[in-house]
């Protein structure tokens, strides 16, 4: 028990096993839902989960390692396209192509790992540039084009039902969470807390920061790729304009910031909140919802800079005071 707490990743406000339990529970609950929901609600939840998935994958590199990637959509897109090519053009088995999508974008991440040498803004811009470059390449390159001459898009036959996709996404969600927690609780994840604080120090105490970063980058790219690969057949038509658009890169950042950067639960909460808000804005304010969305962004930064996890942390502190889970020794 104590050891578990000791190997606790920064920002996970609860014990690792408990978090796993929570996730499994949530997944189980979700799996129970579909019979009671109509197809729209199932789809809504699926897309919500997709947003959460990509946000979580971003949070690994952006939140825990403090590398704000502005081109995370590139891995999402590569995943989708790799899936399209594997499944539609080469007729590879569906689930295998999903994995392939993930592997492809992980591979690209590995190729691109030198950009991890950049810091802060330079890294942000480099990822942005990567996104644009890849988008244009995919649009021009015959191999990644759709089956028709000028059409840069891919169309998928409708194979699985919405429920099926939903269960698939829930499964991926659980697997991803487990892998994330696993990573964060491993020495690499734990080390990321150190080099986020001070890289010089981290290396001074024997942490191989390069390896940590690259691992985190690849893992996050992999999950982003898998997410893209699932998204593609779900939406049934993808094109470079829609899949490599900047909004797939901005969305995860906003979601994570809403929920709270650098915490495992943050993106999940942020995703739920944002989607709910977004959904209501569609209904009520037809032409003003983007405006309101913007105002909301500003409000969040002004009033809630640490995201909703801040709120959570307060709660847990309260609740820790009752039973001293982490005794706060005040020595000043």
């Amino acid at each position: 028990m104590k050891a578990n707490r000791a190997i606790k990743a920064k920002g996970v406000f609860i014990n690792r096993n408990r978090y796993m339990l929570l996730i499994l529970l949530a997944g189980f609950m979700l799996c129970l839902c579909p019979p009671f929901l109509n197809t729209y609600q199932v789809k809504f939840l699926s897309f919500l989960l997709i947003n959460i998935l990509i946000a979580c994958s971003w949070n690994l590199i952006g939140g825990f390692c403090n590398y704000f990637s502005f081109g995370h959509g590139v891995f999402f897109g590569i995943g989708a396209y790799a899936f399209a090519i594997a499944w539609v053009r080469f007729g590879i088995y569906f689930y295998l192509s999903l994995i392939l999508g993930g592997i492809m974008s992980a591979g690209v991440a590995l190729l691109m790992s030198p950009i991890l040498r950049l810091k802060g803004l330079n890294f942000a811009l480099a990822t942005l540039a990567l996104l644009e470059a890849v988008r244009i390449i995919f649009q021009k390159w015959g191999f990644t084009r759709g089956l028709k001459g000028f059409d840069a898009g891919w169309k998928f036959p409708m194979t699985l039902s919405d429920q099926h996709f939903f269960y698939l996404i829930v499964l991926v969600f659980i697997l991803m969470q487990i892998s994330l927690v696993g990573f964060m609780a491993s020495r690499y994840g734990f080390a990321s807390a150190a080099f986020k604080e001070d890289e010089l120090m981290a290396r001074g105490i024997g942490i191989n920061t390069t390896v940590c970063k690259i691992l985190a980058f690849i893992l996050s790219a992999f999950w982003a790729g898998v997410t893209g690969a699932i998204y593609a057949p779900m939406i049934t038509y993808i094109s470079t304009q829609s899949i490599f658009g900047i909004n797939w890169s901005i969305k995860p950042i906003v979601v994570s910031i809403f929920g709270g950067i650098g915490s495992l639960l943050g993106p999940i909460i942020g995703g739920i909140i944002l989607n709910a808000i977004d959904h209501f804005l569609w209904e009520r304010f037809l032409e003003y919802h983007t405006l309101i969305y913007g105002i909301l962004l500003i409000a969040i930064v002004l009033f809630l800079p640490k995201g909703f996890m801040d709120y959570k942390d307060r709660l847990t502190r309260l609740f820790q005071k009752k039973k001293p889970y982490r005794p706060i020794v005040d020595l000043d």
Binding site: G120, L125, A126, I136, I246, V254, T290, P305
Partner: protein
Amino acid sequence: MLYFLIMGMMKGAVFALAGWGFSIILGILGIVNFNHGIFFVLGGYLTAALFALGLPPWLSILCGSVLVGIYAVGVQRLLISRVMSQSHMMVLVLTLGVAIVSREVMGFFFGHDERFLVVSGISDRTFSFFGYIFPALDVIMLLVSVSVFFLFYYLFNHTAAGLTLRIIGENTEIAKILGLDVEGSYDLAMFFCGLWTAMAGSFTVFILPIGLHQDAYWTIMSFLVVIMGGAGNLFGTFISALIVGAILFISSIYVSGYSDAVIYLLLLIILLCKPTGLFKSKMMVEKRI
């Protein structure tokens, strides 16, 4: 070829004008302003509006730019100054939100049509030089940006305000200790940022159609030239802007349709080989990152 090079550089002057604003904000406030493109677009729209009211072109350009400068100061005072203490990326998200809001509000005021002023005697005026034709507006752009550069240089090195800005850029704490008016200087920087960026937009509206949704493109382009040239380094920004312009132009001459790909790949290569940009970064941007 040389002709294309010169033409490209002229086209690049607009990036320089747009980039400088970004550069000072990055260097002195140490924030990335995603609202930057809005300055550009708003400048274009206001100029068009004023021109429609019957003002002469130069005057409408001037007024438009100044108005945008005031808008910029307003944003700084009301919003950005409140979150300066927070992490760099939060400020970035804030400006993102501001950009969204501004864009929508502009939509309500100006409508969603593009703006494009084709004025006989201005838009189609050209100089002929050794048999080569140079569009007058592009030449003026270049001249304006060069003069603005020298103006900047003077402001930064020979005026109290400029000195203050530089000190703040180097180390805000020291500036505070010295009792300098940090907030005021921030406003000043923001004003100039808005002014020059809007001026770029105002000129561009006579050259190209400007749409409400181009702000993202202009933000990214100024970001690009600034990082390429070394953040906070005005001269570097200027040169890299000219280079970017030239490359865009020449690549669209020889490999049309791939110009964007070329520029972004170039950027990637530069960032990987020389992360600090082509020229030495003058101000300690990294301090907040």
